[in-house]
Symmetry: C2
Subunit: 149 residues, 2 copies
């Protein structure tokens, strides 16, 4: 056999990395917020968080800026500045963070749109997916940073 193995190749539809639900933005935001909850009422700046969480600084900075714009954090500029939680720990959920960084959560989007649903109207598939979505939404809403501390 040749040392350089030929690529298996199946067009552009090779097996993918896998279905991911939570991106790094969301993940990092969750970590940072949990850490800040631990230092309640204490202003935390990006430098502190980077030391603790080992997340690339400019990336974390951007994430915190977004959390600020979205009203999750209060920001203090200038020397000695930093961030503070703006809301109760119970009101900051994983679902909320996912919606901020990944957009609205909707597994659904109706497969078989109007076109060729085997049993249109009382569509079994849509019902099942809806049921799954409702469950996941409910559970993700229950995962708050308060519940993780």
């Amino acid at each position: 056999m040749n040392p350089a193995l030929p690529k298996v190749g199946r067009g552009s539809l090779e097996r993918k990395g896998g279905v991911k639900l939570i991106t790094r933005d969301t993940d990092y935001a969750l970590r940072a917020l949990c850490f800040m909850l631990g230092r309640k009422n204490e202003i935390v700046n990006v430098g502190d968080l980077v030391k603790e969480l080992k997340i690339p600084k400019p990336f974390l900075r951007k994430i915190l800026q977004i959390l600020h714009k979205e009203g999750v954090l209060v920001a203090y500029k200038g020397r000695g500045g930093g961030f503070l939680l703006a809301r109760s720990a119970e009101s900051i959920s994983l679902l909320g963070l996912m919606e901020i960084f990944q957009g609205k959560f909707r597994l659904n989007e109706c497969l078989f749109k109007k076109v060729v649903c085997p049993n249109i109207k009382r569509c079994a598939l849509k019902k099942k997916i809806d049921k799954i979505e409702q469950y996941v939404l409910k559970e993700l809403r229950l995962v708050t940073i308060a519940s993780l501390f």
Copy 2:
């Protein structure tokens, strides 16, 4: 105000299209398989499916080829050729198709890897996500083309 409105801009982290769980590959595959189930024991070719499902032909062709390679379909080449279901309708699930076209399903992937989990070991977050994942897996496995016909 200028006619050309300025972009709102928030770096590259603008609100995204949304969290999608099922891609078009999987969707189309499901549609095609359901249709083929309706024509049990009858060889169906891509042309037939395109007429019925209004899916771009070359894309559908590729999808069917993959389903063949994965053992979901039997293929007949040459004139009068086409595809046939290779397995029972009960054994072809939405989860199976997702794994073929989107890779392994794992919501989990451990947020807070080894680094800064607030309560390492009996990690509450990991437990919760695992629980959600198990539920979703179970439900997606129950959605078979047989159950949709």
